[in-house]
Symmetry: C2
Subunit: 371 residues, 2 copies
């Protein structure tokens, strides 16, 4: 009587150049003959889809070639399928927008995604300070915010209330400095309180536009700040950029136990989509060593809980690099709230050196020498 | 040359019983005749869709009746539309699953959504403790976790490693006590590290199954814990439950400024979908009054920043009730990490009385008297 679910989704990018394959190991319910007894097995049915990331419809025939394949609606396997006519008439072949994205990205040397399993770990703060730091090293930097429903990058860069301009070359990013351009849906909202109530396909659409229509010019680095999780935004950004070459992902976490569970999921996501994990950054940490007297006061709090080992241990378990710890620094938080770089003055004494070490480690991993 | 975007999506539930209307005020780019000049206006084009929540395809004709409408593909407006044939052959009419959901929900007296604009504010901790508290008052309680990509409810309720069973009546929730049942995708994963890499439609599918196929039995309260944001999960849960009557939403926030910005978006979401805001709960607060000496140490940190007024002020601005503040309590965090109720022993002296007051306020708002 036990229902043993096994819900596996495997994104199998077997060909990095153009033919993205999306494999769905679908949970297939099979009636077992007992009273109300079902058993669900993961590997009974493997469905593959070309050029996609779209799922095969639930009611499709057993050997569905995928609604985007050339033989969709025309294959023998489509005989009698309720979707046959729709598939036969739908547009086919590789997405022409992918070619436009490849062209746009030809002027971008390095692409780095910043991910986190859980919200509230300081991911956007890290993305912002990473961009400030790279720009301060005289690199040409672009920062793309793909958190469509909760964009915080404009605030973190001190760019609230700015708007995007359009030229013959495309959408122009908003510039903090001449070598640091930023793009976010936050620049497109008529009112900061306004909710962006969008389902996945619409979010994917604007992300594609950001990649296809924004004129970044020559960039040394494109830093992409993603929302927490492993859903539409994450699948889409990898899918859209895969053919252009992504350097990898930085995963931001905190020493908190619940956050570490979610970051393991993020590492598993990277492995499944073939994205290199450049490293894990443990944020709001190191207070343990610096201010033990304060730790006693707030032991077991949301910020500093009892989880031993934290990020370092998890990295060893998962076989991914640990880039370093960023101490909880009131001055860093203040800089982020005010949209300033923490490297500009000597206020962020606790966090700035740690961030600098992390970024240098990252650059040496990417085999980029300072300008 | 200024591109003034106005991206409005209005969910207009005009008829609560069965005919859900989904209005999309689509951003319609109109070429202005200047060199590369676009101006985008919000209200140029209003598209409506019956029985949906699906969007009108970007390439649809001007007066598209909506792909789910009876006249889809057959209306005069469909002439020459690239989607005409697909629309003409797609299944029509109201979603039959909505009737099944209405039947399931007939035994549930009150339905409460727990929302937050930003992650990491302690929303799941609040949902868990609210459920524990209601169960301790001898109410029959169900807790539904619709955070599909990052479920933390199983851990918060001390139910890690549990599995869902199936009976003739449907999927059985996992029970903490005889009057507290829990449903989460976390119970269906073969491995806790495994990422659920799902796009919107698949997430919507499992949420529908949770509402349609779970046998809750007679419930006084169904508490629904949503992920942060305003996307698929949020639109779907409101759409699926609208016809069954939702009591309203509780929005959880922190006194942090960035979190308050996002909660305003959540309030705007509730207003747009016609969901009553039962109140806002400010989490991790009140340390200001209780431990001013500690506040000095960590002033401007991520947890306690300089934003004056916080939740109370925002509620007055937005015209929604303020339910109360929950102090940052190390013991509450410990209880949540260990999946325990904070009301069971006398350890959570700082937070438990505050939570109790909030829940009593909530019950009096819902006009529910204690058993």
């Amino acid at each position: 009587m036990l229902m043993n679910f096994c819900l596996d989704v495997v994104l199998d990018f077997v060909n990095k150049l153009s033919c993205l394959r999306f494999c769905v190991l679908s949970a297939n319910q099979r009636y077992m003959g007992e009273a109300g007894g079902f058993r669900v097995s993961s590997s009974e049915r493997v469905r593959e889809m070309e050029n996609g990331g779209y799922e095969v419809p639930e009611n499709a025939n057993e050997h569905c070639p995928g609604p985007q394949s050339e033989s969709a609606g025309k294959s023998d396997a489509c005989e009698g399928c309720p979707n046959q006519q729709i598939c036969a008439t739908a547009p086919k072949g590789p997405d022409p927008d992918l070619a436009a994205i490849i062209e746009r990205m030809a002027t971008v040397k390095h692409k780095i995604l910043v991910l986190s399993g859980k919200g509230g770990v300081g991911k956007s703060t890290f993305s912002a300070q990473l961009s400030f730091a790279l720009a301060a090293m005289d690199f040409q930097v672009g920062l793309l915010d793909i958190d469509i429903c909760g964009p915080s990058i404009p605030k973190m860069l001190g760019l609230e209330g700015q708007e995007i301009h359009q030229s013959n070359l495309g959408w122009s990013p908003v510039y903090v400095e001449s070598n640091l351009g930023v793009m976010s849906i936050g620049f497109m909202l008529p009112h900061p309180d306004e909710a962006v109530i969008w389902r996945g396909p619409r979010k994917n659409g604007i992300i594609k536009q950001f990649l296809k229509d924004v004129y970044w010019g020559e960039l040394d680095f494109l830093v992409v700040d993603a929302p927490p999780g492993t859903s539409d935004e994450h699948i889409s950004i990898v899918q859209f950029l895969q053919a252009t070459g992504i350097d990898g992902a930085i995963i931001v976490t905190t020493p908190q136990q619940v956050s570490l569970i979610d970051v393991r999921k993020e590492v598993s996501f990277c492995k499944k989509v073939g994205l290199q994990v450049l490293g894990v950054v443990e944020n709001m940490s190191a207070m343990r060593e610096k201010c033990p007297e304060m730790l006693n006061l707030i032991a077991f709090s949301e910020v500093f809980d009892s989880s031993a080992g934290g990020g370092v241990k998890m990295c060893m378990d998962m076989g991914v690099p640990f880039l370093g710890k960023v101490p909880l620094d009131p001055q860093l938080c203040k800089a982020a709230e005010e949209g300033r770089s923490c490297f500009d003055d000597s206020k962020c004494q606790i966090s700035a050196p740690a961030l600098k070490t992390i970024i240098e480690k990252l650059l040496s991993q990417l085999e980029v020498s300072k300008i």
